[in-house]
Symmetry: C2
């Protein structure tokens, strides 16, 4: 079978460019508009994307003056989108540092059932003291500790998702026996961070459990991804860096005893599309012209752990920045930004312009043909299994991609032309339904979503 | 204005009777079927109910042999139902003992926005060691401590829901100023159980916050209800008991400095409906005949804190049961059951039959006319502001109520004949949108759901 691109639509209110909300077309209330997100989800489905994705953190990001803040909680929004779509996967970010495994496992299991096997979980450890202070802590937990907790969290969640065998429900009305208690497996977990005794109160789901996604590219993050992730979102600025990341994560996956094909690498790309190059550049310029630089400086200082007022808008970054090892937050993003500024000798103003589009993700400006070329190059040259598409402006940027880039990718045989028969998200990513860890003779078989299981478990 | 009944549909898979799943009509996979719940929600909306309601606990209730176990997580299910309905309120149970205020406040705020102001929260403290052991505890916290935590939890949640003023969003594209940071009020809460520093990452919602519902009738529960609850669900076996509960809770509400009209009392009723009395009795008998008594005995022993094998199916309850004060779990339910058995000199078998329908809630068997009479009597004689309708079998029991009892209640002027113009759940219950605690000059005014607010905040 031809190797095909996996496309994920990363949705974020009026778009990924920080100034997108200021454009005349943009709805400044998009962040709380279900109608807005329904439209985006249906556009992505028209483009036969594998999935859509929502980022998240349990804190109020950035100040209100700067740009839209706040959002609908991702699992709530994805549940609503599940009822408005039919095929597309639904990936929500949720934190292992500020949730309980029992509560979160239930929510993802419920979304997987309601969506007919389309749930995905972007596992994050959540950087920053602001989030920590919303959950009874004074400072954020250390980076390594957050990842240790994340690993135990996922282990417990996997036990919970497997705690019902697929055939635990007997439904024997005549005998008055609804289920078989011997096919329930309470985790009885006692670990460093969690004690979870009982079985989940949701049956095993169409996918077994949600597609596991990860997005941290630090050393800890890569170890974690190699062990658990089925898809990895990553920010890469150059083909070279992306290829080296790709080779590294695939080799780590192999070393972790897994098939590297079972982990898909999806770099982010912010496509600024115009019917000519000049048009695309002009669109980019309009966005840059709407950036309010005082906000950008403050945010950059925050990210680089500098005192307010340190940075000079028209000067370079200071030479004496701390090494990545001193950063407890988003380590890999920190290094990427510092390297980008130094590699291209950018002033602070220029750096803010470059980050305005995708916060460190690759911004690519050009015609649909050029965007498709870039995607094909990365895909065929060992840098990507697909892309995390991050339109600078929404909904128009997603529409431009679906209407103009998708047809080219299809023509080149890189992307499906239509969804096949009903598939789970995991099947769409070319992965198999996981076996149940408590069933010794279990084989990798299509699960209830595709086999002849009761309708209740597959689809409304 | 005429005083009108408030009706709430308490939905639970195949119905409230424990044997309901065994009937030929019942779908044994109803507990995970969105289609089943969509049908129920639409039926309740046809009956112009105020709201529907889902119970919950973060543990696997009862063994699988006995009856359907597990469920879709309530906030997930209600979000999906929000997109399938237009008017009906959506009340989810969620625990203050096993959630974080920041996470839960976000979820209810998101549901309130997605549903256009129809969210309600049944605040529970969650009895039982089983739930505790899923969250790192060895035993359940003491009853009084659970309620102390619940009070602080709600206080924090109220601060979070008020942390955005209604007009915090300016959307000034020309000036590049999206919001006004001076209208954001971080809780900076440091209490006994919680520390929560920052503002919520969801704007203030159509209702301000979800309708607050409470269902515990212990002394602690009543103190809590008088302080916070806008609606109270309660289990009452006799008109007399219900009247005394009603008078007590209303007087406590007055003493707490609140208008007793702002707390609605809704006893549960399990209506077994037949077109004649004989038909209704026969339907009840069919359900009782499907009870598996060994399960019932085990559950009763568990509830009464007795060793397995203590109870004699055809004997009375033992005389030496512990007093309510020794029970750390569901105190008021315990007393109600013991009193019911003693008042009516029931054998264990008879008690199980009586509890099989509504787990301590009033079971009423009769014609639609008789059901309407019973409801009217309680409503007009100071025992209820409305009812929590708990059909023994679903969907048929809800259909019978809507098709045969609702028309009688409407004819008598006790129930609305149609939904009025778009209202929030709180408005439907005759309550006003709460003022924001951080806005000193705030007045009780209709909120964004009914005033001229941006469409994004009111309805998709």
């Amino acid at each position: 079978m031809t190797r095909r691109l996996h496309l994920n639509a990363f949705l974020m209110n009026t778009g990924h460019h920080e100034a997108s909300w200021r454009l005349p077309e943009s709805d400044p209330y998009a962040h709380v508009s279900l109608a807005h997100y329904v439209e985006l989800a249906r556009t992505a489905e028209r483009g036969t994307f594998d999935s859509l994705f929502l980022a998240d953190g349990p804190q109020l990001w950035n100040n209100l003056a700067q740009r839209p803040a706040g959002a609908l909680e991702p699992l709530t929004l994805l549940t609503a989108l599940a009822t408005a779509t039919e095929h597309i996967g639904l990936i929500a970010t949720a934190s292992t540092s500020y949730n309980s495994p029992y509560n979160l496992a239930r929510k993802f299991a419920s979304l997987d059932i309601v969506s007919g096997g389309r749930a995905g979980w972007n596992i994050v450890t959540t950087a920053g003291a602001e989030a920590a202070r919303n959950f009874g802590l004074d400072a954020e937990p250390a980076h390594a500790e957050r990842y240790a907790r994340a690993a135990e969290f996922v282990d417990v969640a996997l036990k919970l998702w497997d705690s019902w065998e697929d055939d635990a429900i007997l439904a024997d009305k005549a005998a008055g026996v609804w289920g078989d208690d011997s096919r329930i497996h309470p985790p009885r977990h006692r670990g460093t961070y969690f004690s979870v005794e009982g079985a989940l109160n949701v049956p095993r789901t169409p996918q077994g459990y949600p597609l596991l996604v990860q997005a941290g590219s630090s050393a800890d993050g890569k170890v974690f991804a190699a062990r658990y992730a089925e898809a990895v979102f990553t920010a890469q600025q150059t083909l070279e860096d992306a290829r080296s990341f790709y080779a590294d994560i695939k080799s780590r996956t192999r070393l972790a005893g897994r098939d590297p094909e079972h982990l898909k690498v999806l770099p982010g790309i912010v496509p600024v599309i115009g019917s000519t190059e000049a048009e695309a550049r002009a669109a980019e310029q309009v966005l840059e012209d709407h950036i309010v630089h005082t906000h950008g400086v403050r945010r950059l200082e925050d990210l680089l752990r500098l005192e307010p007022g340190t940075l000079d808008l028209d000067g370079p970054l200071p030479d004496d920045l701390p090494p990545e090892s001193a950063i407890e937050g988003a380590k890999s993003r920190y290094t990427l930004i510092v390297e980008l500024a130094r590699r291209e000798s950018l002033t602070v103003r220029q750096l803010i312009g470059r980050l305005g589009g995708g916060r460190g993700h690759l911004t690519f400006t050009g015609t649909p043909e050029q965007v498709a070329d870039e995607i094909e190059t990365w895909f065929t040259r060992g840098a990507a299994d697909g892309f995390n598409i991050m339109p600078p402006v929404l909904p128009s940027g997603l529409e431009a991609f679906v209407d103009h880039v998708v047809p080219i990718l299809r023509e080149r045989g890189l992307l499906r032309t239509a969804y096949g028969p009903r598939q789970t998200l995991r099947e769409r990513y070319g992965l198999r339904r996981p076996r149940n860890q408590y069933v010794s003779d279990a084989v990798d078989v299509p699960g209830p979503a595709t086999a002849g299981a009761p309708a209740a478990l597959t689809r409304i």
